[in-house]
Amino acid sequence: MLNAHDTTVSSALENIRSVFQSMGVALEAAPAKLDAYFTQFKFVKFALIVAILIALCAALLGVTLVLKRYSMIGDGLSHVAFGAMTVAMIFSLTPVYISMPVTVLTAVLLLRGGKRKLGGDSAIAMLSVSSLALGYLLLNLFSGSSSNLSGDVCSILFGSTSILTLRESDVILCATLAAVVIFVYIFFHNQIFAVTFDEDFAKATGTKVTAYHLLIAVITAVVIVISMNLVGALLISALIVFPALCAMRLFRSFRGVIISAAIISVFCAVFGILLAIIFSTPVGSTIVAADLLAFVICIIIDAIKRGTKR
């Protein structure tokens, strides 16, 4: 028994050692590999552009959602988008044409009225697990012939395993929508601040609160649907929540938080993609890991700042 246990441990250690060894090899080969990727495949450049735009959108929106205590709505919506995507796959339609309207509609329903809390905690939990379960169920029932079912599901949930699987049409659509979202956000940032900070005041002094809630809902849905290509349905929340949380640790003005969240988010996305290429890891989870790392660093910086103040 003891011996068997020892062998398991030592083989596990051996495994870890070999992972690190191959990481070392990958790191040595990194410059050549990056060079090869960027010169040979134009989609790598596209993917990087898309990632930057998506990261920017997610960060901008994330600040609003986190401050309004709507983080879970983003998570719920991404599951709904998954459900919608599986339906599109069954009928062999372009996924976005189904998932976009469905997600937008759900977002509008959830965020409607803002305060009235139709989207209460349990409602969101219910909605998200149901769409996840039904999506997977439908896919299993109707695409029995598909040989790579679990591969398909996995890439919807966790993002493209390789950024090379992004198609040109995806790239163009993502870039367009992201540009629109960023423009809208910059144009209405004062209104979005007012509506987020104090809904009642904004309404009483004549800001069209309902309209801006609608706008935020639509933007949320759009961002989630376009992010699915990059990081997958399960990991979108990270892209939305982490940059905002990082920035809130470091800055005290709304503008500072927005700008730094955008910078942190873009940096993590680029860093994550490069790492994913070098180590051949899944793009989505690598980006999220980078975001998590950034968050830990921000906590440490915040702690040090507080410490020196005392």
Binding site: L67, F197, F201, A204, T205, R252, F254
Partner: protein, 238 residues
């Protein structure tokens, strides 16, 4: 000059009236306190006055100079604001939003307005501080400055001294009094604090089930309803 008038208005939620037969008028320069027991409908009345909800019946008129959405509002603080990253300047400026239409940035005139009120309320040196790091009294001044940015003439205050210590409370009342006397700002305040209402306000509106009172503070002291309510408040203070 009359700014707004309520004629036999009933306010409430989902068709159920909370307070009824409300008739009163507010003139420019008035200092009106809305008093009443918990649940009597003070807040509902205030929300109706601010067009946050529609009256169940009756008629509300906003006079020429006063547009519906030009009433400054000092709401009670919300959960969200407690850890909201925003500087004092950003919060105050957001009061100017109702006059900026669809422009993406604040104009020079709006920044000037914000600056003027920050100076008046003595919070200029706090302007780049974080709102969440301020004391309760400072936060109320910031929200008051924001309310003043949103209006030319009238502000509505919802329990402005809730949760403040006595010294800061007296300070804030004095400040609101000066805004009324010196800047000619019309004040409509919802308050639990009857003794402050009697000291500072020149008009009292008491909302209670069955009978309401509206009149000057002297008339209120002399009225049966006023005597009863002042007596009760005195008891609970003791």
């Amino acid at each position: 000059m009359e700014l707004l008038r309520f004629e036999d208005v009933a306010v409430g939620y989902e068709g159920k009236p909370v307070a009824e037969h409300l008739s009163f008028a507010v003139h420019a320069g008035d200092y009106l306190c809305i008093v009443g027991e918990n649940g009597a409908g003070k807040s509902t009345l205030m929300k109706t006055l601010l067009s946050l909800q529609t009256p169940l019946s009756g008629k509300i008129t906003y006079a020429g100079a006063l547009k519906k959405n030009e009433i400054g509002y000092l709401p009670q603080q919300t959960e969200i604001q407690r850890d909201f990253p925003a500087t004092v300047r950003e919060v105050v400026l957001s009061g100017c939003l109702n006059r900026s239409g669809l422009r993406p940035f604040y104009s020079g005139a709006q920044k000037q307005t914000a600056k003027k009120w920050m100076e008046r309320l003595d919070i200029t040196k706090l302007q780049s501080k974080s709102y969440r790091a301020l004391s309760g009294g400072q936060q109320q001044r910031v929200l008051l400055a924001r309310a003043l940015c949103a209006t030319k003439s009238v502000i509505v205050l919802d329990e402005p001294v809730a949760g403040l210590d006595p010294l800061v409370t007296a300070d804030l009342y004095a400040l609101i009094g000066r805004l009324n006397k010196e800047d000619g700002i019309t004040i409509i305040m919802v308050s639990h604090d009857l003794s402050a209402a009697l000291t500072y306000a020149d008009h009292i509106l008491q909302v209670s089930r069955g009978s309401n009172f509206f009149g000057t503070t002297e008339d209120y002291r002399a009225s049966e309803l006023g005597k009863l309510f002042i007596g009760k408040a005195g008891d609970s203070d003791a």
